[in-house]
């Protein structure tokens, strides 16, 4: 019982510690990067249970702000190989277990 309690605490700690948005790789400009990151965080928090809606929100906002056409992948386990326009890729982790990849390629 105690162990499970501790396990839970650790989990909670881990989640708390590891849930800040961590940019893994990007070649965006500073302003664009900050804006995109905040948008992703907002979307993931809003649609915490539904990755598709979150991705949809991000994609539509990016299309409006920065032009078509953007692609967004959100998930906990996936591999990818994409071709993106230079200076238009953001790959970040969020929430301890979510990975978000946003790129532009028309």
């Amino acid at each position: 019982m105690a162990e499970t309690g501790e396990g839970k605490k650790e989990e909670a700690d881990y989640k708390r510690l590891h849930s800040f948005p961590l940019i893994r790789h990007t070649d965006m400009a500073e302003e664009m990067r900050v804006e995109t990151m905040e948008l992703c965080v907002t979307a993931c928090e809003k649609f915490a249970t539904n990755n598709e809606s979150a991705a949809k929100m991000i994609k539509e906002s990016m299309d409006k702000k920065f032009g078509s056409s953007w692609h967004v992948v959100i998930g906990e386990g996936f591999g990818f190989e994409v071709t993106h326009e230079v200076k238009n890729l953001l790959y970040m982790f969020f929430g301890g277990s979510l990975a978000v990849c946003v790129w532009k390629c028309s």
């Binding site: 961590l22 990818f80 230079v86 301890g96």
Partner: protein, 693 residues
């Protein structure tokens, strides 16, 4: 052989018919087999053959008569139709039911004679064929005749006209058949029947043009997102953050804040500074465009007519608002950036001592100095390092010396990088001259200074401090050397200059008018002393090319040229006014310039005229201003002159002043002084001869 079957009408037709057929078939078969006998049977009589499922009817029933009535009613039409009436809101039987049954429909193309379409067709037919429709006359014989009769009564009786009018009248009634009559003669344009006319203009030929922009560059990226990858990434990030926090704790928080603030500030400003600077330069160039053109290209053509004289063309004038009350006390050109020069501002007036300024101007911007360093005490002298042109050594009126580093970012007030303090051997009297020296053996920069307190001090920049060491103490010589050995009265040194080639050799000019030749090696003894002037020696300058010749000037109105091996001057020039400064020209060994307190610049060329200046030009507007310093630019043919009102003016030397000694084509400059030296020797020998005799 057909076998007649008796079909009694009395029987119900359906049943009878059905029965009859199989019976007849059977009969046929039987007949076919028994053909020979069949004739007899057929001839004899008929015997009714009954099929097994024949209805058994009684005789009465057989005789019963059925009546059949043929009506015109449609057997398929319903007998009672009930429709819902919305008005009465109930189903109502319809009284009569349509009994018509259409068995066959064939669409034909016959039209009635008098219908619209028929008439039109006839009209068209008439036009093409040109035939009269004779039968129309028969149908309507009277009408055309009546109309034809009526018209001539109305119109003028001329046959063609009548015909025309009749035609015209008929035209008004095109639908009537009569219109066809006159048509065979003329094809008349019918105002109600428009005929089309069309034409096509030339279409410009079309050409396709297309172009393709370069698509934005693309590149590939691949990664895997797994739970463990994410976890690892977060762990790494946390570790980094912890390390950063540790580092931050060691630094003081205030410093960071300051740095951040500075960075923020400088980010905003530095982005603009460069652009603004370029802009400023552009504006200045445009404003002073004519001056810039003169500076570069103007050569005074009238010099060809003036045999030996030259002129100074005024170019830029440099002034700084905040330095208005100060006089120019020092000038120095920068060797690396030949358009940059330093101006030291202070005051020569003993009673009016205030602050000072170090300004650095560039020729590209005459309105505002590039660097401004306000100082607490007036600057008396300055020197820019020959190689490291960002180091400026400055001597102050209060006896301090300082080194300014132009490269250092201006944090708050521009502070000198090094400053001598009272402890560390600063002079007790104004510092009159500073000079950079070559780096010493430890590769530290060092410079010398001379001051009225009689000391020549060498300062070395070690790390962050100025370390001094006295080189020479000037003292009175002569008079009573033996009795007053103990008493060493320091004399005031007012200027010094180091030999350009012989490193340890330097000259010192004193307030008494003497010039001492000294060596860095000997700290108390002079190598030589020259009785130069009657008043303080304001400047001594070695010749840039000739190793033996130097200049001195003094407030006793004279400028003297010396050979350091000979104790008497080679040449003496009287300029009618106290001479503030002299300078050798960098391009010729025989040209030098002097400035006097009456506001004139005198330029001498010994190879042209040994006795007089080839140019004497007053250069200031107000006559009361005194010129304090003059410097030649290392490469451009310009000089800067400073005066005691704080203005610095730049002049261009006319060609006559810049004549290089024309000897052999290969070696120009060294030849000059040698020739001059020969001349000097001649002169000297003449002088000596005179003395002897």
């Amino acid at each position: 052989m057909p076998v007649p079957t008796t079909v009694k009408s009395k029987k119900p037709p359906g049943a009878g018919l059905k029965v009859a057929k199989p019976a007849s078939k059977k009969k046929d078969e039987e007949e076919g087999v028994d053909q020979g006998d069949g004739w007899d049977e057929w001839a004899q009589g008929k015997a009714l053959i009954k099929p097994p499922d024949q209805l058994e009817l009684t005789e009465e029933e057989l005789k019963e008569e059925f009546t059949k009535i043929l009506t015109a009613n449609n057997p398929h039409a319903p007998q009672n139709i009930a429709r819902y009436s919305f008005k009465e809101r109930s189903y109502k039987p319809i009284s009569s039911v349509d009994q018509m049954a259409v068995h066959f429909v064939l669409e034909g193309n016959l039209i009635h004679v008098d219908s619209e379409e028929a008439r039109r067709q006839r009209a068209r037919q008439d036009q093409t064929d040109g035939k009269h429709w004779d039968w129309t006359f028969k149908l309507f014989p009277e009408k055309p005749a009546a109309e034809a009769e009526a018209e001539p009564d109305e119109e003028i009786p001329e046959n063609p006209v009548i015909e025309e009018t009749s035609e015209i009248v008929k035209e008004e009634r095109p639908d009537s058949v009569e219109a066809q009559i006159g048509k065979k003669e003329q094809k008349v344009t019918n105002q109600f029947n428009f005929s089309e006319r069309a034409s096509q203009t030339l279409n410009n030929p079309l050409r396709e043009r297309s172009c393709q922009t370069e698509p934005p560059p693309r590149c590939n990226f691949s990664a895997t997102a797994n739970q463990w990858v994410i976890y690892d990434a977060y762990l790494e990030e946390l570790e980094k953050q912890e390390k950063n926090k540790d580092k931050q704790k060691t630094f003081s928080a205030k410093k960071e804040e300051d740095k951040l603030k500075k960075n923020k500030m400088s980010d905003d400003v530095t982005k603009v500074v460069k652009v603004v600077k370029i802009f400023e330069r552009m504006v200045n160039q445009n404003t002073f465009d004519d001056i810039a053109q003169d500076f570069k290209y103007f050569e005074d053509a009238s010099d060809e007519f003036r045999e030996q004289e030259g002129t100074l063309l005024p170019l830029w004038k440099f002034q700084y608002d905040k330095a208005k009350r100060l006089s120019v006390t020092a000038l120095c050109w920068n060797k690396s950036y030949q358009d940059l020069f330093a101006v030291g501002m202070g005051s020569y007036d003993f009673s009016k001592q205030g602050h000072g300024m170090l300004l650095l101007y560039t020729l590209k911007n005459s309105t505002c100095p590039e660097f401004v360093y306000p100082t607490s005490s007036g600057i008396m002298c300055l020197h820019i390092h020959d190689r490291l042109s960002h180091l400026v050594a400055v001597g102050f009126y209060d006896g301090c010396v300082a080194v300014f580093d132009l490269k250092a970012e201006e944090g708050g007030a521009a502070q000198p990088a090094f400053k001598s303090t009272a402890k560390a051997g600063k002079h007790t009297d104004p510092v009159w001259q500073v000079r950079w020296q070559n780096d010493d053996m430890d590769n530290n920069h060092n410079f010398y200074s001379i001051s009225s307190d009689g000391r020549v001090v060498s300062w070395t920049l070690i790390k962050n401090e100025l370390v001094f060491s006295d080189v020479i103490k000037l003292s009175l010589e002569g008079a009573l050397p033996e009795c007053l050995e103990v008493v060493e009265q320091p004399t005031c040194g007012t200027s010094f200059d180091f030999h350009p080639k012989i490193d340890f050799l330097f000259l010192v000019g004193t307030e008494e008018g003497k010039i001492h030749k000294c060596s860095k090696a000997y700290s108390s003894q002079f190598l030589e002393t020259y009785q130069a002037h009657n008043m303080a020696v304001d400047a001594v300058k070695w010749n840039q090319f000739h190793p033996k010749v130097f200049l001195s000037c003094s407030s006793d109105w004279t400028v003297k040229i010396w050979d350091h091996t000979i104790r008497t001057p080679m040449f003496t020039f009287d300029l009618n006014s106290a001479v503030g400064d002299v300078a050798w020209s960098p391009y010729s060994s025989t040209v030098f310039a002097a400035v006097t307190t009456d506001g004139k610049v005198h330029v001498f060329d010994l190879s042209i005229n040994k006795y007089e200046a080839i140019c004497q030009q007053p250069v200031v507007a107000k006559k009361k201003t005194k010129l304090t310093h003059i410097e030649f630019n290392p490469i451009h043919p310009i000089i800067v002159v400073g005066d005691d009102r704080g203005y610095v003016t730049c002049f261009k030397l006319s060609p006559n002043l810049r004549k290089k000694p024309k000897e052999k084509k290969g070696q120009e400059v060294p030849k000059g002084p040698e020739v001059e030296e020969a001349k000097m020797e001649k002169l000297l020998s003449l002088l000596r001869d005179k003395h002897k005799t």
